[in-house]
């Protein structure tokens, strides 16, 4: 392989833990994303109806209603007064993501993530550095913009162009233009901006990140004292700014849990770390354990 070991993360983790363990969470995420897509397409493609509708709102096995709370918020702002199933569906979705972390939607559910992950993998592998850079906060401005436009036009305007739902709906209901949107997003993340769409611009992800603020399930750099500064986790992470306080913030009094609301709980850092620094934990395990004799932080 002609790939520079320093460009692609995970080499030492594969050597240390084996390929399967070094891709455990990545594989589980792909299975989750494809399984969710499958329950939606099994009806129209195979005649086996599991989930009807799409990610905007769905009915699973004719009993479980789920609704995207971001869409419901836009509808509310656009002036529609809700009295129906959608409220229950959105409450269930809110509750779920407030437990597991809002951006779990991005890394475990959203079909676009597969596209942008492949794009950024190739970008990293081919060592493409050029392109546009966006501020990571741009997505919150875009989120605010979508809500403002919903109010100004009294319609759920963002849904006219939202690539996330366009692609999901396009796959399920069959629209050839879906390929075009996927291609545009792919090229954007591959050639124009690293983690450009999901990591900087997407207002859907921005909305879900707000739910992460108080969510329970977190990644923790629980054995951060074992870190050998190989930087693989930073290279693998789609939101690399979230790692630093937890991994390197012991001296500043930061606990080991990644508390940033843009951590997608994708678990890629757990995969690529040869020293098994990271693990899934909860926000409640953020206390620093100090070995009082040596005045050093210790792993539990």
């Amino acid at each position: 392989m002609a790939v520079n070991a320093s460009i692609m993360p995970g080499k030492s983790a594969i050597a240390e833990k084996g390929w399967l363990i070094a891709h455990k969470w990545l594989l589980l995420r792909r299975i989750s994303q494809l399984a969710i897509l499958f329950v939606f397409v099994s009806g129209p493609w195979l005649g086996v109806w599991i989930a009807k509708g799409n990610l905007n709102s769905s009915l699973t096995l004719d009993v479980l209603p789920l609704t995207d709370p971001y869409l419901l918020l836009q509808s509310l702002i656009a002036g529609h007064h809700l009295t129906s199933t959608a409220l229950l569906g959105a409450a269930l979705v809110l509750l779920f993501y407030m437990v597991v972390g809002g951006r779990v939607f991005c890394s475990w559910v959203c079909p676009i993530n597969i596209v942008t992950d492949i794009a950024s993998y190739l970008r990293q592998r081919m060592n493409i550095k050029s392109g546009a850079h966006f501020n990571r906060k741009t997505r919150y401005w875009l989120l605010l913009m979508t809500l403002t436009v919903a109010a100004a036009t009294s319609s759920i305007a963002w849904e006219l162009v939202n690539p996330v739902s366009l692609v999901h709906r396009g796959i399920i209901f069959g629209s050839a233009l879906t390929i075009l949107i996927v291609a545009v997003l792919f090229v954007f993340d591959f050639l124009i901006s690293r983690h450009g769409w999901c990591g900087h611009l997407c207002p859907v992800g921005a909305f879900y990140s707000l739910l992460t603020k108080y969510s329970i399930v977190r990644v923790s750099a629980i054995r951060r004292d074992q870190c050998d500064d190989c930087l693989d986790c930073y290279k693998a992470c789609p939101e690399e700014q979230v790692i630093n306080p937890a991994l390197k913030g012991a001296a500043q009094g930061h606990g080991p849990v990644i508390m940033d609301m843009n951590c997608t709980n994708c678990g890629r850092c757990i995969d690529v770390c040869a020293k098994s620094v990271f693990t899934f934990s909860t926000r409640f395990n953020n206390a620093m354990l100090i070995d009082m004799n040596n005045k050093k932080e210790v792993a539990p």
Binding site: K52, G53, N54, N56, L59, A78, L142, M145, V149
Partner: protein, 264 residues
């Protein structure tokens, strides 16, 4: 070497530049999206919404674009608008000339809607107002030519109520009748069956959005005979005797046959 102060200044300038750049980009996108959203509100006249949509503007605020109504439509009447369709992306619609609405009694599309974009208060499908049928081309309609096509009348699920045939004299032959189809807006649901069934290459009867199809009398306007019926008597002094200045050999019966030959 840079002093700490000048470093801060450069950072502040970069921060300002960054913010202004981001904000102007976002505002431009927002403006574009707003204008596009306004355009997207103009539903093409040949496309119809499912039952339970009162008006397009409210619908676009309420429809969450999930397609559940489309899924539960047993006749594949409803379609979900794709990005390249003329209808607002992701919203349900149908075309009467394609697959008209079968007017299911249990209205599964309305039941499926999770947001009340399709009004749950609609319990009787006869109360649906998806559009209004209009004979848009009297020159082409066969019944207007004196032929007995009657297909739109026959297929109407609310035959006699929503479409009736108004018998008139055929002035071309002088001895036949014209059976003119007349649509009654207080019964027409806009299901589109008539447009679908119209035997012409291009339908002479079309279901149009109600705002487009319906005229409205001025608020102040009163129809004399209606007022007379409501009051039970004429509101103006009735004529004692009608006097007409008619050509020789004709007479006029005011309460009877109208203009007729004077056989005397």
């Amino acid at each position: 070497m840079t002093r700490p102060g000048s470093q801060t200044k450069v950072n502040r300038r970069r921060f300002m530049q960054d913010t202004v750049r981001t904000l102007s980009g976002v505002c431009l996108l927002g403006l574009g999206l707003s204008l596009y959203a306004r355009k997207a509100k103009s539903l093409p006249a040949t496309t119809l919404r499912p039952p339970g949509v009162a008006n397009e503007a409210d619908f676009l605020a309420a429809c969450i674009r999930c397609g559940l109504c489309v899924r539960d439509c047993p006749y594949n009447t409803l379609k979900l608008s794709a990005l390249d369709d003329q209808v607002a992306t992701g919203t349900p619609y149908f075309e009467a000339r394609g697959v008209p609405c079968e007017m299911c009694e249990d209205i599964p599309c309305v039941k499926a809607c999770p947001t009340d974009a399709l009004d749950k208060n609609l319990s009787n499908i006869d109360d649906a107002r998806m559009g209004l049928a209009v004979i848009v081309d009297q020159e082409a309609c066969l019944n207007y030519q004196g032929l007995r096509c009657d297909v739109c009348y026959r297929v109407c699920p609310r035959i006699e109520k929503a479409i009736s045939l108004n018998v008139q004299r055929n002035p071309r032959s002088g001895k036949h009748a014209l059976f003119i189809p007349v649509v009654h807006s207080d019964h027409c649901t806009g299901c589109g069956k008539c447009e679908y069934a119209c035997v012409l290459d291009k339908a002479a009867i079309k279901v149009l959005p109600i705002e487009l199809a319906k005229g409205q009398l001025g608020q102040h306007y009163r129809l004399g005979w209606e007022e007379k019926r409501k009051a039970g008597e004429s509101l103006v002094t009735p004529d004692e005797k009608h006097e007409y200045n008619l050509p020789k050999g004709l007479k006029y019966e005011h309460e009877g046959q109208g203009l007729m030959e004077d056989s005397r």
